[in-house]
Amino acid sequence: MLIELKNITKKFDKQTAVKDLNMKIEKGSITMFIGPSGCGKTTTLKMINRLIEPTSGDILIHGKSVVDMEAVKLRRSIGYVIQEIGLFPHFSVYENIAVVPRLLNWEEKRIKERVDELLHLVTLDPSYAQKYPMQLSGGEQQRVGLARALAADPEILLMDEPFGAIDPINRLKLHDSFLEIQEEIKKTIIFVTHDINEAIKLGDKIAIMNKGTLVQYDETDEILHNPKNEFVENLLGRDRSLKALSLEKTKGFVTHEGYVITGPNDDQGSLREKMKKTRSEQAFILDENGRLLGRKILVTKKTGKQEMIQDSNPVVVDRNNNLVEALSKMLESGEHQLPVVSGRGKFMGVINLSHIFAEVTAAEAKNTIKGA
């Protein structure tokens, strides 16, 4: 158990923001706090790095009470990300990321290496180091915010509605790369959100709060299938079985059949042969690093003649996209098979429409059994 909240209560004047909260947070997991505004989720988050002091109760990290630690030192050992506004406007991207390492008196050489490493991690070009926050888009600012929080390699990351100010399309992209990054760094992340879809997509566990108390705290899957009461049901909304689908990541449904892989300069004739033999409709063109460059489709004309068409900008699914996202991409593009790529554009295989339908049927069955 990494973090433990014990009988935490916080009163502001006479109002109780958090009431007798008890919970344990496991190492290496993402815990999402969600609830209506004023439910105490942000207050709880801020008590962990002591931006707010609890009125009573105790918070333990590794079994040690945070109250016994020096507040400033504690905060340096915990990453903290808030909405984009949290970047220091007078510091360059480099200086923003270097804030904590400098506070910890790292050598400049080590800082530089760390900044390069982090920019790579959050998929920003190294040239961004010298830019200023005002020159970045909202999504880019948020990536820098994440890099800054990770600078001194903290074990815990607190995130307070970090993607709240980002438009929906870029938010989805940030979610995918956030999950990709978490796969690499495996931090203990506590994430406050007001968006139930975000909570379901990112959370290993979800903590639902209302009026200062914890309503339900469980694995995401468990919450979706067994909401504890009406409040949770309403929060989840009516389309629960569709939402359950969104728990499944594309990467669990990747297959390696029904297509052909080819290099950019391979012979057309032999490729056509290969596709016919495997009954594949498309061939994916990869470069020497396995990155997807485009695809070739075999189209049968009215005359019965077959023709090869090249598509250099195919629709792709990120391997961290959930099944709902993959499904909607298929519906939009009219394809029943889409290539799956990693965050860095590497080809992983394909996902088929039939596999998604199979999962829907399975989920329906599961809900019906539980309901019965």
Binding site: V100, P133, Q135
Partner: protein, 216 residues
């Protein structure tokens, strides 16, 4: 023209002394009010004192409408005549824009930004030096600039209460109806004022953090 030249040549020593006095009066009082003003601004915007800051902001906002001569006159009543009273008058008067701008500059920084700094593990002192002050620099510098303009202008007035300087020359000229003295005094006073303004504008450019100058 000839008269101006003759007076200038015959009274070089006095003109030089007056110019120096003028500049000295300006420099001493501006330095003092910058130091006192910025400290006051920092103090009243410290954690838990924001209310005092807002009250002071209202007071200094209204006080900016008080004529410079009134301040000189009031200081004369309480302190009397000489160089020190002149400095006191200038400091009091130019404190107003510096306190006003420092306070409003520091108060206008988004609380979210301060929270981010705190959550990152900066101490209060580090937040002040590395975050708050650099971000407020453009506003504080604008306050210093108007304080300097005010001071250089009021320095001329301070001659009335024995502050010396170029104001002395101008008064003498006005009293004696000697155009050439007025012109020399005025020209030098205006020249120093413009020079100081240019210098401060340059300093403003240098001292403003680069990230704040960029617009999308």
């Amino acid at each position: 023209m000839a008269k101006i030249l003759t007076y200038f040549l015959q009274n070089q020593a006095r003109i030089l002394t007056s110019t120096w006095e003028h500049f000295y009066l300006f420099a001493v009082s501006t330095f003092l009010s910058v130091v006192i003003g910025i400290f006051t601004g920092i103090f009243v915007t410290g954690e838990g004192r924001e209310r005092i800051g807002r009250i002071l902001l209202t007071i200094t906002g209204a006080a900016q409408a008080v004529p410079s001569m009134a301040v000189v006159a009031l200081v004369f009543i309480f302190v009397g005549i000489g160089f020190a009273p002149a400095v006191i008058a200038l400091v009091i008067y130019s404190l107003v824009p510096i306190i006003f701008n420092t306070t409003s500059g520091l108060l206008s920084i988004s609380p979210k930004l301060i929270e981010a700094a705190k959550g990152t593990g900066l101490t209060n002192l580090q937040i002040l030096w590395r975050i708050k002050l650099p971000i407020a620099v453009p506003v504080i510098m604008a306050g210093i600039r108007s304080a300097a303009t005010i001071n250089i202008g009021t320095a001329t007035v301070a001659a009335v209460i024995g502050g010396g300087g170029l104001g002395d020359l101008i008064y003498t000229g006005l009293k004696l109806q000697r155009t050439e003295i007025i012109i020399i005094g005025t020209f030098l006073a205006a020249f120093i004022a413009i020079l100081v303004d240019i210098l401060i504008a340059q300093a403003e450019k240098v001292i403003t953090p680069k990230g704040l100058k960029i617009s999308r």
